[in-house]
């Protein structure tokens, strides 16, 4: 998995998000964008089939504690369904692309 900055406040995460290292990598990349002053972050996820609860927890903390807006663009239907089941589509602004 790789988390890359693809815009001023856009991060593209390629590969499957799964391990603790993936969580750390996403967290570091997102933090670097926030440090530069971003209050809205777009996460583009073209490959991942799932998302660990640790990453979800981190994103929710950004929304509810740090007041950072998240927009999540996902390609895989399984990941979108998981977000729906977990009632996260609205709070994380999850959209298909």
């Amino acid at each position: 998995m790789e988390a890359k900055l693809t815009g001023a406040s856009e991060i593209t995460i390629t590969g499957n998000i799964q391990s603790i290292d993936d969580y750390q990598a996403i967290k570091d990349t997102v933090r670097s964008v926030i440090t530069k002053g971003a209050t809205q972050i777009t996460l583009k996820i073209p490959d991942s089939l799932s998302m660990p609860s640790s990453v979800i927890g981190f994103l929710l903390k950004l929304v509810h504690v740090d007041n950072v807006g998240i927009n999540m663009l996902v390609k895989d239907e399984r990941l979108y369904n998981l977000m729906e089941i977990l009632n996260l589509v609205s709070v994380l602004n999850v959209k298909r692309f």
Binding site: N16, Q18, S19, I20, D21, Q24, L49, S50, M51, P52, S53, S54, I56, G57, F58, L60, K61, H64, V65, R78, L82, I85, L86, N87, L88, S90, V91
Partner: protein, 572 residues
């Protein structure tokens, strides 16, 4: 009350626009009408009148006709292009047929001759504003009705939410996410129980309970009251609540007896049933230690048991041995069946087997086949959903499955409570899975396994409570805390991978055990729905991906089950 006061009652909520070029008239009319309206806007000519009309919410226009810049009629013509409703009183000393026809065609409501007789003006105002008042009243009533409707909808929604919560609280499932371990004659037998509860309405005519009544002994209750909707649900809720209470008391006294349970329930419910009311129930006492099942079923669909001896498979249909329960006493019987070679058991309400497909095929015809090929209630319900139309009745499914004795592959891994070792273990598990299923399926499964491994690490061995974890995440101290804790933690995580041949598929079982104190699995019922919480979703993610997850009694060991399609494997 004089006429003016009566008029004031009608007009006091309205805004009037008065257009007059002659100051003397303006001042006189303004004085005479003062206090009659909520607000009075004054314009000196047609152009100003038009501007004020456009910029304000006007209920009534009183205008002179002959004015510089723009006449009253020309102003009315412009106003009518954007508004055809507002009543207009034209003050004029000029009476001409052509003028009158134009004024009437422009929708002038009333005419008052100049010089003004104020009695006539008050009458004109009264007539002109009646329609406005009525329209305002209608609008207000519509708005109030809409508000009332919104309130009622909100109220009903809240009531339904509470009712569902209550209904689910009445259902007691001692096997929620738990497995049954039986140790007998040096052998270990593992049973997995799964369930589906799909009420048609919020308040259901179906209900169930699964209660532990002794060592390896479970009581299963299925209730399906006559009819559908609220009336059926009252009897169902009464029945389930009473029987749960009976089980609670029996456990307190040290012994549960099926006969006593049925007798006690009958004595209770006969007082509550209407003369023509019936209740269908299943009272089942399964003794997994001694391989026997005692049952009294009252007009419930047959219990299905799959018996397997070597390669021989047979489905036993245990039909109801009693009539439905009614207000009137009817003798009943309890029968016993051996479950020695039984590998699967299915208990269900008639909403399942009596459902029809679009081409009028009853699901009962497919149930036996789907029962044989399913490993869980979730899988069976998936087959049901793919063949049948929308259910027309409440559906309850309780499915028991015995783990096959010999796996085709078994691999045990033990690791320290350390993130680095968890990463290595997941790589190893992934490489094993890749031999039995497609890489994408393995990746999805690994998400579930990682969640459970992480739970064993942080909640099990490190003993991090959910509330404490939320606090640490909020303060950005979570990772540092884990690093500090794992440096001194000596507890280990035990991973057992088992893969069984299962018909045309592989059955994967991954058991993850920690050395922590365990937890009450029922707390998971409340987890994972609040989108403002930062944690508590791991098990829900695993549940979504797996066919089933089952905890040990203590809660420090979890088994994930997933059927793997052999066609998708890579040569394993």
């Amino acid at each position: 009350m004089n006429d003016l006061e009566k008029l004031r009652k009608i007009t006091s909520s309205l805004t009037v626009l008065y257009v007059e070029d002659e100051e003397i008239f303006r001042l006189t009319v303004k004085r005479k009408l003062s206090g009659l309206f909520k607000e009075m806007l004054i314009a000196k000519n047609g152009i100003e009148g038009l501007e004020k009309f456009r910029g304000n919410l006007i209920d009534l226009i009183i205008t002179d006709n002959i004015m510089p810049e723009m006449s009253g009629l020309d102003m009315i013509q412009e106003i009518r292009k954007i508004d055809t409703n507002t009543p207009i009183i034209l003050l004029t000393g000029f009476i001409d047929t052509e003028f009158l026809i134009r004024a009437i065609n422009l929708g002038v409501t009333q005419f008052v001759a100049k010089p003004i007789d104020f009695k006539n003006l008050y009458t004109a105002i009264e007539i002109a504003t009646q329609r406005v008042i009525l329209e305002n009243l209608e609008r207000k009533t519509r708005e109030q009705e809409l508000e009332l409707l919104k309130y009622r909808e909100k109220y009903h929604f809240q009531q339904q939410e509470r009712a569902l919560k209550k209904e689910l609280n009445i259902i007691k499932n001692d096997l929620y996410l738990k497995k049954i371990d039986i140790h007998k004659d040096g052998c270990h037998v593992e049973w997995h129980c799964s369930h589906i509860f799909k009420p048609l309405d919020i308040i259901s005519g179906d209900s169930y309970s699964i209660r532990e009544i002794g060592q390896g002994r479970y009581f299963i209750l299925l209730v399906d009251a006559m009819g559908k909707g609220l009336s059926a649900s009252v009897t169902t809720i009464l029945s389930t609540s009473y029987i749960n209470h009976f089980v609670f008391k029996a456990k307190q006294q040290g012994e549960f007896r099926l006969e006593e349970c049925i007798d006690s329930y009958y004595n209770f419910i006969k007082e509550e049933l209407l003369e023509d009311e019936i209740v269908c129930l299943s009272f089942i006492d399964i003794d997994f230690e001694n391989d026997k099942m005692r049952y009294a079923t009252f007009s419930e669909p047959p219990i299905l048991l799959l018996k397997e001896i070597d390669r021989d498979r047979e489905v036993l249909k245990i039909r109801s041995n009693n009539q439905p329960i009614m207000k009137f006493p009817i003798p009943y019987r309890i029968d016993e069946v051996s479950i020695k070679d039984v590998t699967k058991m299915l208990f269900y309400s008639d909403g399942l087997n009596e459902c029809f497909s679009g081409n009028h095929v009853i699901y009962d015809e497919h149930l036996e086949r789907d029962f044989c090929r399913s490993y869980s209630a979730k899988e069976l319900f998936g087959y049901f959903g793919s063949q049948m139309d929308t259910p027309t009745d409440d559906i309850t499914i309780i499915f028991f499955n015995k783990l096959p004795p010999k796996p085709a592959l078994q691999r045990d891994i033990t690791i320290n409570s350390c993130l680095g070792e968890i990463s290595k273990a997941t790589e190893e598990i992934n490489s094993i899975l890749s031999n039995f299923t497609s890489s994408s399926e393995a990746l999805v499964l690994m998400s579930a396994i990682t969640e459970l491994l992480f739970n064993a690490y942080e909640h099990g061995n490190i003993d991090l409570e959910a509330t404490e974890k939320r606090k640490l995440i909020a303060q950005d101290l979570y990772e540092d805390y884990l690093k500090r804790q794992e440096a001194t933690n000596t507890k280990r995580i035990h991973i057992k991978i088992r893969i069984y041949p299962y018909g045309d598929c592989w059955m994967l079982l991954i058991t993850i055990a920690d050395e922590g104190k365990g937890f009450d699995v029922r707390t998971l019922l409340q987890c994972g729905n609040d989108c403002s919480e930062f944690s508590g979703r791991g098990v829900k993610i695993a549940q979504t991906i797996a066919d089933g997850i089952y905890y040990s009694h203590k809660g420090n060991e979890v088994t994930l089950i997933k059927k793997l399609d052999k066609e998708a494997d890579n040569g394993g």
